[in-house]
Symmetry: C2
Subunit: 360 residues, 2 copies
């Protein structure tokens, strides 16, 4: 059975279905497909595993597919444009629907193509990684990378439905499972200390892919994210809390070169840096920082940037991040575990100290 | 003095300033610029004429420019991406503002870049062609072309202000002035027979660039368009009326190759085809069709497609137009002059006859 959450965005409200054996459930798709044409966007890794199942479920529609190369390195303008080539070569109309079958990269590119094709068509997310299930499939952020920065080109475009089938996590590499757990932990750090306690005591089950534990963690993560997004759809205010670890993380990813670090790994290390800076400001205790680092490490994630990355280089990249407003760098920090805040009220020297610090 | 119209879109309401000597008026820009960074997007033709004047007006801001090649043929993904290169090489932040200085192509590309840079930043339109002043600067449609079709990739993104300086029309080539008049005439054909009468009796002044006549025509055109857009921002319903002549026109443009026909020229011929089909259906009299063709011809515009374009080729291209819904081709036709309607209720054979007909 699917658990159903609803993201409440007025006229753009949509359901998130979470559970086993959902990929093939025609009924979950049907209500959210407008016309008769469906373009499935997937990649070379996920396609061979799940494309046939989804096509079977969508047998009543005119279904076509476009298969992209796999990986963050391909989240480019050039690869993105292939989706338009496919839509136009099939003469897909304005009432066509895009189904994004894959991880965050596929979801971001397919969603952004849906936002722009004929100035906006419908799309359904079918996330097949833990990261995409708890993060990129909720909130309507879509986009692609530019050599000068991640997600610099994009749009807000809400899916009509999200189908998160936990069975697809069985084929997920362990490293990607850990990367997804970074985002799961993030929701606890932002605003739910009880969820953080639960994650601490269930980390072994999660890493062992216990279906019940995963379903609970995905559901609670989506609930928290959906709540925050519904409060602030266009990121005017505290939706920025969801960027905990991300400004640090994006700088690490860019510095290390897209693709060498997974997004979740960079966010994991980024959250450790955020806790370190929060401690230097006087908000977190040393034991809070240690607990943060311990949780991140237990999830199989790095707790700091690569030794060779110079603090000045990271600082330079953080300055171009989207979270900069009026030349002022804003960061998400923690006033306590489970109590994140957005702030630009910190000493630059403390930030430099955090970026320079390499703990044992 | 500037005449000011207001496009009423709730929280996204914006002013259109129309008149002489507006380009250099700092006060018209200032209220609509968010942060301190301004990127002027212009092209190789308009830049040398007006860039310095706009930069002087914006002297208090951090102003940079990106100069694109001129012409519809350059309204591509590749050229569009140069705007992001410029924004990122200058590390422009989310509160930066794009100023689009040029015709419709510049406005469409700059506006679409503003829609997508960091998922949406502010932009101001400074249209320097008649076409852009009466059409592309009002309504929030932005986008680029794909080899398989015009404006297939884009977004709805409203400007914060439009500054339409009629002085810039003094440097406009005659052929482009005529192309702009096609859109002006369109507003009369859609819903204002009195405006059509006025245009008929003032065509000589308009072609002679009489400033008062131009200002009146621009103002009335923007009023009609703003009214229709305000009634239907996302083109769910009768905003489609604005496409009078466009489905035919896009097919002609695509067939002839982007850039060989101006958009307005194709729309002019397209409106003649729309009147011809309306006549075959029994809605317009023969004299209405002749009056339509006479008005279009007097404005210096073509009244039919090139002789060598096969009807079947045009029909094929019309089938991929955005106005197709559920496989059904919808067209804007006229039940009378000044009374356009959107309809799919016409005989395909009558459409074929219209596409095959070449009047003397």
């Amino acid at each position: 059975m699917a658990k159903t959450l609803t993201v409440d965005l007025g006229t753009r409200e949509y359901p998130i279905f979470i559970g086993s054996d959902l990929l093939t459930r025609t009924d979950l798709y049907r209500d959210h497909i407008l016309g008769g044409q469906v373009m499935i966007v997937t990649n070379e890794t996920v396609g061979p595993l799940y494309l046939d199942a989804v096509k079977t479920a969508l047998g009543d529609f005119q279904v076509r597919e476009v298969i992209l190369p796999d990986g963050e390195a391909y989240k480019t303008l050039e690869v993105w444009s292939r989706i338009f080539d496919a839509l136009l070569s099939e003469r897909f109309a304005r009432d066509a629907t895009i189904v994004a079958l894959g991880g965050g990269v596929v979801g971001d590119m397919a969603g952004f193509a849906a936002a722009c094709y004929q100035r906006g068509i419908a799309f359904i997310q079918v996330p097949t990684t833990l990261l995409a299930q708890v993060d990129s499939s909720v909130g309507g952020k879509t986009g692609i990378n530019h050599p000068a920065g991640k997600n610099m080109i994009g749009a807000f475009h809400q899916p009509r439905a999200v189908i998160a089938d936990t069975d697809t996590l069985e084929t997920l590499p362990q490293r990607e499972l850990s990367a997804g757990l970074a985002e799961v932990l993030k929701y606890g750090f932002i605003r739910d200390i009880a969820f953080l306690d639960w994650l601490e005591s269930h980390m072994a089950e999660l890493l062992g892919r216990d279906p019940a534990a995963l379903a609970y963690a995905i559901g609670r993560s989506c609930e928290i994210k959906a709540q925050i997004v519904a409060e602030d759809e266009f990121e005017a205010g505290h939706r920025a809390l969801l960027n905990l670890g991300h400004t640090f993380g994006h700088a690490i990813e860019t510095c290390a070169g897209y693709g060498s670090w997974l997004h979740g790994e960079a966010v994991g290390a980024g959250m450790c840096l955020a806790s370190d800076l929060s401690h230097r400001i006087g908000w977190l205790s040393e034991s809070d920082v240690e607990r943060t680092r311990h949780l991140i490490a237990c999830a199989g994630l790095p707790t700091q940037p690569p030794a060779e990355l110079a603090p000045e280089e990271l600082l330079g990249l953080m300055a171009v991040d989207k979270k900069v407003i009026g030349g002022q760098l804003r960061l998400v920090l923690m006033q306590g575990l489970g109590e994140a805040v957005v702030t630009s009220d910190f000493d630059r020297d403390l930030l430099r100290a955090t970026l320079a610090c390499r703990r044992p």
